[in-house]
Structures are given as structure tokens and as C-alpha cells.
Amino acid sequence: MKALRSHGAKLAALVLVLVLAVVPFYETPYNNNQITLIFIFAMAILGLNLLAGYTGQLSVAQSLLLGIGGYTAAILVTEIEMPHLLTIPAAGFVAMFFGWLIAMPVLRLQGFYLMVVTLALVFVLSPVVKEFPSVTGGPEGLLIDAPEGVGTLATDQYVYLVALAVGVLLFALAARLVNSAHGPAMKAVRDNEVVAEAIGIKTTRTKTGAFLFASAFAGVAGSLYVQVIGYVSPDSFGIGLGLALFAGAFIGGIGTIAGALIGATFVQVVPLLAGRTDASLTGVIYGTAVIVSIMAFPEGLAGLGATVNKRLRKRSTGTSPTVSPDPPTAPAATPTTSISSSRNETR
């Protein structure tokens, strides 16, 4: 996140936030909710970005953790009438706890085991949730009342602004984290665990820490998710969403924070566009985009400028510099504001 350090990028981020903050006053409730969902997915992807992009650990469990956050919030609101705002940190902590349970046995091992385990885990949430209908509402899920609007704000505007504020907070947190001494440590673990270990980095701890951050971010996102959608159901958080978030992280640019917002926009918009022809195209587009972004632009769309620059430079000088893993980040793109039909699950 060199970019956020530089003044230009800081200014761009500020302008972006200000623009986003006035959007809900001019948009329909429907569109506001759609953009709020983009913020929510961006949080989950941001967490995955810290985990996969910076620390090199692949996981498809963000959907599961988002679901855990969502159920936590829904249960707290329906059972003990906890205020909606308070469920946000609560969901983050509960998801973090579950993340810890997953991370503990797995992260001591070689990288692909995390992927193996998380792939299995995303299939578990739905049957487990259905098994305990008294708490979770079983197959029907749980309905929760939407949070009241505040003052002159309508509910959709209110939730939008809360999500924006939480999002800004998480982005700032992530930027701080990767700019601290932990950032280089995470990258060292990603690039070569054995070497990282040799220079005194506690690799298991670093990986676990990244996984806890990713879990907490997903949990927070889950709480906001139920506040937008108004209900949770067991089948919303399966492999389809897990893979979509995974794809979003790589499409937006893994290892770049701005990429999370681009990736989330992609995750939210592609199904809407694809759904007009054939919902199955969503998977084709996600998959192709992941493959293309990994093969052609290792830094994803957020690093597009950097990659292209590098290629041009390479061609003009005729030398072959190795691609550095830390590209200067392009400023984040503004998400599309005209979204006009409902989201489809990949499966």
C-alpha cells in the first residue's frame, strides 16, 4: 500500500469516499442496497487479500465466515434484541473465533492444505445449520427486522453509510497492517516460508494472524449482509459465494488493497449482467477472469497500469527484469452505480 502513503493516492481515496458518501442521497433504495453489498463483499475480499495476497494462504472459507457472521448477527438480534450496530463487532469476534479453530490445526502445514480444508468446510455450514432449527431457523433461515433509519435517513441510506464507514475503517486497518512491520513479514511468508522462518519470522503465527484478520473482516461483513438482505438462510454461504469471493480477490488484484473494491464490484455486477443471457455465464466469466488475471496480470486489475508499464518498458529496453511482487497501485475505480436487477448465485 505504497499508494495510500503517497499524497496523490490518499487524495484520490478521500475523494472516492466523499463521492460514495453522497451517492445514497441521489439513488433509489434498490441501488443503494446493491452498492452496500459491494462494500460488504469488498470487506470479505479485503480480508482474503491480506490472507492470500500478502501471506500466500489460499482459502475459500470467506463465504463460510461471512455466513457465521451473518448468523451471529441474526441470532443476537432475534434472541436478545441486541442493537444492530453492536452485532457488527460481535459478528467479527465470533467469526474470528471460528477462524482460529480452523487455523490452528491447518496452518502449520503446507499451503494447499488450507485450501483443501476450507473447500470441505464450505459444504458443512448448510447441513449443520439445518440440524439446529431452534437456534438457526433451519432450512428457512432467520428473518430480522431492518435497522431503523436515523433522523431523516431512510433505512437503506443508513445501512449504506454504516457499511461505508465500517469499510473505510477496515481499509484503513488493513493499510496500517501491511505498512507496519507485519507487512514485510507476511510477504516473506508468502514468498518462501523456509527462508522466512530462517530470518526469524514466526511463520505459523503470521499465517494465523492473517487468517484471524480475514475471518474477522468476513464476520463484520456478514453482520452488515443480514442488515441489508433482512434474512439469513443456510444456502446463501456455500461454495458458490466462496469461489466468487476468491475470484474477486484475484481479479481485483491480489496483494493490493484497492483491488478488493474492484473485485467486489466484479463479484456483484457480473452475475447481474450474465443473468440477462444465461446465469451459467457467471461462472465462465469468473473463471476466465481469474485465469487471465493470474496469467497475464499477476497483480490483477488494480495493478493493470503497473503491469502494462512494465511490459512496455521491457520491450523498449530489451532487458528482462523479473516482475516485482509489489507494484505501485493504481487508484481505485469508482464502482458502477447503475445496477438494475437482482444478484444470482453461481450455483
Partner: protein, 293 residues
């Protein structure tokens, strides 16, 4: 007693299917060090291809064999166009590509063949035979037999043929194999092709039970991953044993423990994965890898 025997047999049959898919995973992992997360989806596509041939009037067995040939071509194409370009990068890059392939294959199948489940005829008769007071389905025996034959053929290929020897060499020390003049890249490519063909067999075995749909392989693939992890990702025999253990565990435990039932059966492979990772990360027959810089 009869009921237990019956459950063990059907567990072995299911386990044979997991084992077949696990075998495909191991084959790729051994020859290229990549966990192919799209293995299940590739097998799903293969199953659609089998079904398409069958619907054209080709006898079922021939349809599956034709599909194996197509799958081989798909496998080598995937290796050459998608995996090879990122092979020099981190091990992750190839895995990420296979996740992309997972998504794409799933979408392509839905686009081409639709998402409604379709029936798939069984390769075996629907009869059952009596054995020690239990009724054993012929299809179960068939699945078991197919896996045993498959493992035997792969064993012959690896251990008794020159190509198999060179494939092992290419996987173990590509540089040395290359220095001996071996076409290492073609060997790796064939590894992907063979594993895709093996996946086609797994698909044809499972399809009568789960029907053919883009999502048909989801849970099956998890079981196969668990089987491969249990057996040790690099051991073909381990994959088969892993598949059988998981299949039998599921078939024996699920009907006997109320809490588990059919919904929560997925917890069985998951628990097994966790136990293996905690107790013996290299798997039953795997070799503990030495980490190198």
C-alpha cells in the same frame, strides 16, 4: 451381521468412486506437484460427454471409453494452455488457475447442457446377489472391480512400462530426466491427460446415483480430496485405501449414529481430513516431504 456386511460393501463401492477421483488427483500431484481443484469439475464434463455419446446411440461402455479419450485430450489441453504458462511461478499460481478452471468448467457445463439434473444409466445391472445373508448390489461389486482394475492398470503403467518410468522420472527430477533426453513437458502433459481419463471413469460410476448436473461433483470431490489427503497426496495406493476407509466409515457410521444422519455425513470426510492433518500430515502411505529453501 448381514446389515453390517451390506453397509461395508456399499461403503467400499462408494469409496471406490472417491478413490478413483482421488487417484486422478494423486496422478496430477505426483507428476506436477499441483493439487488440481478442478479435477471434480473436469470429471463432471467427462460425464456429460459420456452421456452425449450414449444419447447418440453409442453403447454405454463404448460411450465411456470414448469420453475417456476426449477427457485425455481435454487434460493435455488444460496442461498445455493453462498450467504450463504459470508452471515456473509459485506453486500457488497453478492452484489458483485450477480454481479458475473449476468456476469456468462449472459455468460452461451449465451453459452447454443446462442446469437440470439428467439421469445416467448404470454400467452394471440392477440385480443384487446374496452373500452371507446380505444382498450385495451388482453395481457395488462392479464399482469395486473397476477401481481394482484401474489401480492395477496404473500400477502396470508406472512400474512396468518405459513411459511410466519416464513419467516418474520427470516428476521426481525433471532436470535429470531432461538431461537424459526425455521429453519432460510431453510427459507432464500426458499425466494430466491420464488423470482426466481416470476422472471420466469416476464420473460414470457416480452419475447413476447423483444424476448428471454441473454441481454433481461438489461433495464427491470433497470426499476424494479427503481420500487423497488420508492416503498421502503422492501415493496412488494410499488414495485407493483412503477412498475405501472413508466410504466404509460413512456407510457404517451414518445409519448407526442418529446425530449424523445423511445430512451431516459430510462431517465424516471433514473429520478425517482434520484428524489426518493433526496426527499424520503426510497421510497413511505418503512420505514426509523435506522442506527445502
Amino acid at each position: 451381521m448381514g446389515a453390517l456386511l451390506q453397509d461395508v460393501m456399499s461403503g467400499l463401492a462408494a469409496g471406490s468412486i472417491y478413490g478413483a477421483l482421488a487417484l486422478a488427483l494423486v496422478f496430477v500431484f505426483r507428476s506436477t506437484g499441483v493439487v488440481n481443484f478442478a479435477q471434480g469439475e473436469m470429471a463432471m464434463i467427462s460425464t456429460y460427454i459420456s452421456l452425449s455419446f450414449y444419447n447418440l446411440g453409442v453403447p454405454l461402455l463404448a460411450a465411456v471409453v470414448l469420453s475417456m479419450a476426449c477427457s485425455f485430450l481435454i487434460g493435455i489441453t488444460v496442461e498445455r494452455t493453462l498450467i504450463r504458462p504459470v508452471a515456473g511461478r509459485t506453486a500457488h499460481a497453478a492452484s489458483i488457475v485450477t480454481v479458475g478452471l473449476f468456476l469456468a468448467a462449472n459455468g460452461i457445463a451449465g451453459y452447454v447442457w443446462g442446469v437440470e439434473p439428467r439421469g445416467f444409466p448404470s454400467l452394471f445391472s440392477r440385480e443384487s446377489v446374496g452373500l452371507g445373508g446380505a444382498r450385495i448390489a451388482v453395481a457395488d461389486l462392479g464399482a469395486l472391480a473397476v477401481l481394482v482394475v484401474l489401480v492395477f492398470l496404473l500400477f502396470l503403467l508406472f512400474e512396468k512400462t518405459r513411459v511410466g518410468l519416464m513419467m516418474r522420472a520427470a516428476a521426481s527430477q525433471p532436470a535429470s530426466a531432461r538431461m537424459a533426453g526425455a521429453p519432460v513437458s510431453n510427459l507432464l502433459m500426458s499425466g494430466w491427460g491420464i488423470s482426466a481419463a481416470v476422472g471420466a471413469v469416476a464420473g460414470a460410476l457416480i452419475a447413476p446415483a447423483v444424476f448428471v448436473s454441473p454441481g454433481m461433483m461438489g461433495p464427491v470431490f470433497i470426499y476424494a480430496l479427503a481420500a487423497a489427503a488420508l492416503g498421502g497426496l503422492s501415493s496412488p495406493l494410499g488414495a485407493v485405501l483412503g477412498g475405501w476407509i472413508i466410504g466404509v466409515a460413512e456407510a457404517v457410521i451414518a445409519p448407526r449414529v442418529d446425530f449424523i444422519g445423511s445430512q451431516l455425513a459430510i462431517l465424516i470426510p471433514l473429520t478425517i481430513i482434520f484428524l489426518v492433518l493433526l496426527l499424520r500430515p503426510a497421510g497413511l502411505l505418503g512420505v514426509q516431504e523435506v522442506k527445502r529453501v
